[in-house]
Each structure stands twice: as structure tokens, then as C-alpha cells.
């Protein structure tokens, strides 16, 4: 079976952990996030009739991007950037994280998950901003950890992008 390491990146409180908690198989407690700074989970996806085992490294979401996290990024095949649609600053943070990720792993596939899609009324990130992001070549998916909206799609998109990598 194909195995791929992917990292979950996003600033504090964007719902990375909740986003995956329903969809991944987890054996480690969340406390690892605040202690070691990472929690490893697993999600199996099938893309184009190919089963892929995604090993998810959920990195602790500090506002800053600490040196500890850089080593966690090494060897990753792709990453899921997570931002909170209700907080504009999380998108900026996601951009910052993306730049730093490029610095460590180079050009690797990634998908931006705009979380808390169920709270659309409170959104601070408007359509125009999103189009602008998409214009930069980013893949953006609206997700909701509560309803499960877009979560599977986000993983599928990322997996497909990774498989297409040479």
C-alpha cells in the first residue's frame, strides 16, 4: 500500500484537531500536541481506485512557527493548511505557514481548508479574498468539522495532488 506523510498546519484554534478527529483513526491522546508538539494519526483514502494510507502529523498550532515544528515537516509529501473562516487573521497566518513550509520541504502539494463553514454568517473571509487566493494557484476547500462538510474532499484533493507528483 502507498503511504504518504501529510502535515496539518494552522494557527491556534482553527479547528485542525476537530477537523480530523471524526475522520481519522487515532490512538494517541491530544495531550501529545501540547507536550511533544505533534500527534500522529492515520487516514486511509481511496483515490482513483488506489488505496492510500495517509499518516497525518497534526502539528501544534502556535501563532509562531517554531523550530521544533520544522523538523516535523521533513519528509512530508503534502500538507493541509487550515484556517478559520470566522477569523481573518488565520488566513494570513496560513499564508505565513505556507511560506515556511516551502522553506523546509520545497514545492509540495497542499490544500487550504477554510474551516467552520457551518458558521458562514460569521465569516470574515469573503468570496473575493478567496478568489484571489485561488488565483495564486491554491486549492481551497470549505470544511466544517461539525457537519463533516468538505473534509473528505480536502483529503481526496490533497492525496490526488500528491500522487500526481513525480
Amino acid at each position: 500500500m502507498i503511504q504518504k506523510k501529510i502535515c496539518m498546519l494552522g494557527t491556534f484554534g482553527v479547528g485542525k484537531t476537530s477537523l480530523v478527529s471524526q475522520y481519522v483513526r487515532s490512538i494517541f491522546s491530544d495531550k501529545y500536541l501540547s507536550t511533544v508538539g505533534v500527534k500522529v494519526d492515520k487516514k486511509e483514502v481511496v483515490v482513483d481506485n488506489q488505496r492510500v494510507n495517509l499518516v497525518l502529523w497534526d502539528l501544534y498550532g502556535e501563532d509562531g512557527f517554531q523550530t521544533i515544528q520544522q523538523s516535523y515537516l521533513r519528509g512530508t509529501s503534502g500538507y493541509l493548511l487550515v484556517a478559520d473562516g470566522t477569523r481573518f487573521d488565520t488566513l494570513a497566518a496560513a499564508r505565513d505557514l505556507q511560506k515556511r513550509a516551502v522553506a523546509v520541504v520545497g514545492k509540495a502539494p497542499f490544500v487550504l481548508a477554510l474551516n467552520k463553514a457551518d458558521l458562514e454568517a460569521e465569516w470574515q473571509i469573503d468570496e473575493r479574498t478567496l478568489l484571489k487566493v485561488a488565483d495564486e494557484g491554491w486549492t481551497v476547500v470549505r470544511t466544517s468539522a461539525r457537519t463533516g462538510l468538505g473534509v473528505q474532499q480536502a483529503f481526496d484533493l490533497l492525496t490526488r495532488a500528491m500522487l500526481e507528483q513525480p
Partner: protein, 603 residues
């Protein structure tokens, strides 16, 4: 090219020019001949010209030349591999290339050398460890317990070092799982377990393990190339051996020996060697590493404590052997001791030998004491006791023993008793019996008490014998007298002289012995004549002899003359010859009891 071609052209034109001295023909054929000759030349060697052209073209084509060289170079190198000139020529550039490569990026060379360096380094480390184990051995020499004694026996039996045996018994472990993890992604390439159980989500464990290693490495800022090698939690340990592209993590229950580390190192090196291409092309497909499973399974070592079971039997056998050996030793020791005791007892019983101390000293038997020079040699008893001179140290001081046999021997030695004299010693009293000269008796009675072990000398018996002899000798001499006279008969001079000599000797003996004797000189007559006349005659005859003896009698002889007439004849006969035998004097010697005489007078 054009220059190159000018040669042959010129040459080809040359032949007509050579005929130029034939003026007429040259002038005649100046125009037409040249063309026809060219035609002829093309006809004859035209193909060679084409080949030459092709050859020149090829020589000018750098790409073609490169291809040619590339084609032959490997063959040249292969065919002349043993030619030292090649080695000589190639060494400097290769060295420079390696140096440049390392300066530029040491990574590839380090990766390539990794499988080779590992074993070499391990070998050096193993040698250092051996020294350490030896020093450990020495430390353990001093710790003695029943268990360590048992291990020591096993070490002797199996020929292993004590430390090795101890490790075998102390460290019992089981490698339960082995992970092969890709670096740096932490993706699980392969996972083998001992038995069916194991972790279902090994891929997550693999990731988390990698995360924790990264965490440790980042948190504590360790040097490059250093990484977390082991984690211990109670009886569980995770040992990690890493290579450039992957690492092995072994989950171990119990306490594993250091040799397992070597096994893990060997496994990761082997995997790097066998799967270098797979690592290079790895894009997440772990199936490419299925071939590494046997190597990983080779790391699933298990060491059971139950192995000690059969060893107990051999331990008992060993202990039994020791017990038998001890018993045999004790038997020999007992026998040796009994022989020794027997020897010492013999010495103690031997006259003239006094054992002061006896025992073992410096692994040998030792005996010391006093020895009379006349006693038997202590060494002469060794054979009888079953010992040899090598077994025993003897130390003897000389002394004079009072023991009866030795004292007697010494007395014999000192007194030099003449033949016929027997000496006996009883309770310190030396007794002489038999016949001996009085001089010797006197000497002996003086010397005997000086002999150690002799308290007094009893010469009574030998003296009595000597005295009796003297008395008998004296009494045996009978001087004869002339008929009717008190003068000696004819030819009695010798007889008288003998008598005087005997009595003289008796007098000397009396002086020596301080013993008084009464010598009765009895005068006799024959039966002729009347008794009134014979009695005085007999007295006169006695008196005659008394006169002779008195001067030589000394102080201890009492000479008394008595006349008995014819009352005590030697023979009763009327023959004249027999009558003469009665005209005589006889002596009767008796000893005077000490109290009745002046025996107390000292010589």
C-alpha cells in the same frame, strides 16, 4: 582538410611532371593528357579517395572521436587492469576527485561508505569492549555468592569467561517488534512482530516514534549525527539504529545484551546495501521493501530464563564431582594424617627421642625435638610409616637420654666390661654379673654413676664371684712339711710362693672392696706319733705359714694360726707317700661381716 588533400593530389599529378624532361611529348600533350590522366587516376584509385575522405571527416568530428574513445576505454581499462602504470596514472585524479566530492557535499560518499564503515567501526569498538569485560571480570572475582559460584562452575565447564556467563543469566529478553522506518518522513516501511500480537496501528506508532526522536533532537540540541538510540520504560525498551535513509526500531521486553545492538546495526546496514535503489525511488510504496522482512525477522531474538533448567542437572553433576573430589582428597589427607600420626607415635615411643612439636608447616610435615646420639635415626622410621624423607622436615637437638636401654648402652660404652660380664639396668641401678677382674669392678663402681641414666652400681654378684674365686684359689694351695718338722718339705718353694701370691691378691681385693677376710691357717700332722706331740707340731707348722703371710696381709686380712694335729687328715693311709700328704697346712678363708670389722676404713 584541403591541406591534407593537397599531398595526394600533388603526388597524383607528379608522374606526368616526372616525364617533363621528354620535351616533345610534354608539349604535345600539355592540355588533353592532364584530363585523361585524371580520369585514369579516378578509375584506378577512386574508391581509396572516398575512404580517405570519410576518414578525414571522421577525424575532424569531435563527437565521433568521443564515441570511439568511450567505446574502447572500458576495454583498455579492463584488459590492462593489472598494469601498474594505469594505477599510477589514475591515482592522483581519483584522489582529487574524492577530495573535491567530499568538500562539495560529503553526504553521497558517507551514504556509499555507510555499509562498509559500520562493521569496521564495530570491530574496533568490540576490541575495546573486550578489555572492559575483562576488567569487569576482575571486579566480579571479588564478589562471591552461591549464584556467582554456580556461574563460575559453568564458566569453567563451558570455557566462557565469567562475565559472559553472568550476562547470559542476568539478561533475559524478547524482541517483540521490529519497525523499519523511512527517514525523515517517519513512514513505516516494514513491521515484523514476534508471534501474532503486536500493534495494529504500527504506522502511527512509527510516525509518533519519529516525532518523538525529532522532538528530543530539537529540544536538546544534540550534534549532527547523534540521535535518540534507546528509550526505556520499566521492563520495556525501544532500541533504535539508524542509517542514512531508514532506521530500525526494536521493541524489547526485558534486558537485552549489547550483542543485540550489533545485530540491529548489521540489519540496517544490510537493508541499506540491498535496497539502495528502492530508497532512491521511494514514493510511498512500501511493498518495495517486502524483501527486507527476513532481515528484520532475524532481529526477533528471544532469550528464555527457562534455559537454566537443564543446566541445573549439569550443575549438580559438577557439584557431585566436586564432592567426590573432596572426599577423595579428604581420604588421602586422612591417610596421610594417620601415617604421620603413626610416625610421630613411633618417634615418641622410641627411647632417646623426645618429640617437642609435630605438625604441618608450609604444606609439609615438620617434627622437632631432642635426640640422643645413641638413639635410632628418626628418618629410619619413615619407611615403616609409609612416608618418605621428602614428606617430612626433621629438626633434632642432641641430648643424653635417661631411658634404660640407652643408659645401659651408654654404660656398656663407658665401662668397657670384659668378656663374661653381663650388665643390666633396672630403675637406674646398673648390675654386673659374671666373672671380672677386681680392678675392673673397682673402676666400674666408680664410673658407673657418672653415666647418665645410671644412679647406682651393684657389683655384688660379680664381686662375690671374684672373691669366691680368689678364696678357692687360695684354699686350693696346700704346702707340705717335712716329717716331724715345722719346716716345709722338699720342693715346696713354688707351692709356698703360689700361696703367698694368692693371699696377696686376696689382700689387695680386700683393700679394693673394703672387705675384711679371716684367713685361718690350719696346721696338720700325720697320724704317726702321739697326739700330745702332734698338736704342738701342727700349731708350729701353722705358725710357720702365719709368719709368712702376715707381712702381706694388709689391714683387711685377719691371719689366724690353728693346729689340729692329726684330727683332719687329707687321706687315711699307712703308705709313706700318703702320710706326707697329711703333713700340711690348709687355709680357710671366710669374709668378715662389715659390722664386725674395720670395714669402714676407707682406702
Amino acid at each position: 582538410m584541403s591541406d591534407a588533400r593537397s599531398g595526394p593530389d600533388a603526388g597524383a599529378v607528379a608522374p606526368p611532371a616526372a616525364d617533363a624532361d621528354s620535351e616533345s611529348s610534354a608539349t604535345r600533350n600539355a592540355g588533353g593528357d592532364h584530363e585523361s590522366f585524371h580520369a585514369l587516376r579516378t578509375l584506378l584509385v577512386g574508391q581509396e579517395f572516398d575512404r580517405l575522405d570519410a576518414m578525414h571527416a571522421r577525424l575532424d568530428d569531435r563527437e565521433a572521436r568521443r564515441r570511439d574513445v568511450a567505446e574502447v576505454l572500458p576495454h583498455v581499462l579492463l584488459d590492462h587492469a593489472s598494469d601498474p602504470r594505469f594505477t599510477h596514472a589514475l591515482t592522483p585524479p581519483v584522489e582529487r576527485a574524492i577530495t573535491a566530492s567530499v568538500r562539495q557535499n560529503p553526504g553521497p560518499l558517507a551514504d556509499a561508505l555507510f555499509p562498509v564503515m559500520g562493521p569496521a567501526i564495530r570491530k574496533a569498538v568490540a576490541a575495546a569492549l573486550t578489555g572492559m569485560v575483562e576488567s569487569l571480570n576482575r571486579t566480579l572475582e571479588h564478589s562471591l555468592s552461591w549464584r556467582s559460584l554456580a556461574w563460575r562452575v559453568e564458566a569453567m565447564r563451558t570455557g566462557k569467561s565469567f562475565g559472559e556467563v553472568m550476562l547470559l543469566h542476568t539478561l533475559v529478553y524478547r524482541v517483540e517488534q521490529v519497525f523499519l522506518i523511512e527517514r525523515p518522513s517517519g513512514l513505516l516501511l516494514q513491521h515484523v512482530t514476534e508471534g501474532e500480537e503486536g500493534v495494529r496501528d504500527a504506522d502511527m506508532v512509527s510516525g509518533m516514534l519519529t516525532a518523538i526522536r525529532d522532538f528530543v533532537q530539537d529540544s536538546f540540541q544534540v550534534k549532527d549525527g547523534e540521535a535518540l538510540e534507546a528509550m526505556n520504560v520499566g521492563g520495556l525498551a525501544v532500541w533504535i539504529e539508524q542509517g542514512p535513509r531508514a532506521l530500525i526500531a526494536a521493541v524489547i521486553r526485558g534486558s537485552a545484551p549489547h550483542t543485540l545492538r550489533t545485530t540491529l546495526q548489521g540489519a540496517i546496514e544490510r537493508i541499506h546495501l540491498e535496497f539502495s535503489d528502492e530508497f532512491e525511488q521511494f514514493r510511498g510504496d512500501t511493498a518495495a521493501f517486502d524483501g527486507a522482512r527476513p532481515t528484520l525477522e532475524g532481529c526477533l531474538h528471544t532469550e528464555y530464563r527457562a534455559n537454566a533448567g537443564p543446566n541445573h542437572r549439569t550443575l549438580w553433576i559438577a557439584l557431585g564431582a566436586i564432592a567426590v573430589a573432596l572426599m577423595v582428597w579428604a581420604g588421602f589427607s586422612l591417610r596421610a594424617r594417620s601415617r604421620w600420626n603413626g610416625y610421630v607415635d613411633t618417634l615418641r615411643a622410641e627411647p632417646g627421642i623426645v618429640v617437642v612439636s609435630a605438625g604441618r608447616r608450609d604444606g609439609r610435615y615438620a617434627v622437632s625435638g631432642l635426640r640422643d646420639p645413641l638413639a635410632r635415626d628418626p628418618a629410619s622410621f619413615l619407611a615403616g610409616a609409609g612416608l618418605t624423607a621428602a614428606d617430612v622436615d626433621g629438626k633434632w637437638e642432641t641430648y643424653h637420654a635417661a631411658a634404660a636401654p640407652l643408659a645401659l648402652a651408654r654404660a656398656r660404652d663407658v665401662l668397657q666390661a670384659p668378656e663374661g660380664v653381663t650388665l643390666t639396668l633396672n630403675d637406674g641401678a646398673l648390675t654386673a654379673t659374671g666373672a671380672a677382674p677386681l680392678d675392673w669392678i673397682a673402676e666400674a663402681s666408680r664410673l658407673a654413676r657418672l653415666v647418665p641414666g645410671v644412679e647406682k652400681f651393684d657389683g655384688t654378684a660379680v664381686t662375690d664371684a671374684a672373691v669366691r674365686n680368689l678364696m678357692n684359689e687360695a684354699q686350693a694351695i696346700v704346702p707340705l712339711f717335712a716329717k716331724g718338722q715345722s719346716t716345709f718339705a722338699e720342693a715346696q718353694e713354688e707351692n709356698v710362693r703360689q700361696l703367698m701370691a694368692r693371699v696377696g691378691e686376696l689382700a689387695r681385693a680386700a683393700a679394693i672392696l673394703r672387705q675384711g677376710f679371716r684367713v685361718e691357717v690350719i696346721g696338720h700332722t700325720d697320724a704317726d706319733g702321739v697326739p700330745e706331740a702332734n698338736l704342738p707340731l701342727s700349731r708350729a707348722r701353722a705358725e710357720q705359714v702365719v709368719q709368712l703371710l702376715t707381712p702381706i696381709a694388709g689391714a683387711r686380712l685377719e691371719i689366724v694360726g690353728i693346729g689340729v694335729g692329726s684330727d683332719d687328715p687329707a687321706v687315711t693311709s699307712t703308705l709313706e707317700a700318703d702320710k706326707q700328704r697329711n703333713r700340711r697346712v690348709t687355709l680357710k678363708v671366710t669374709s668378715i661381716p662389715a659390722t664386725a670389722t674395720s670395714r669402714s676404713v676407707q682406702p
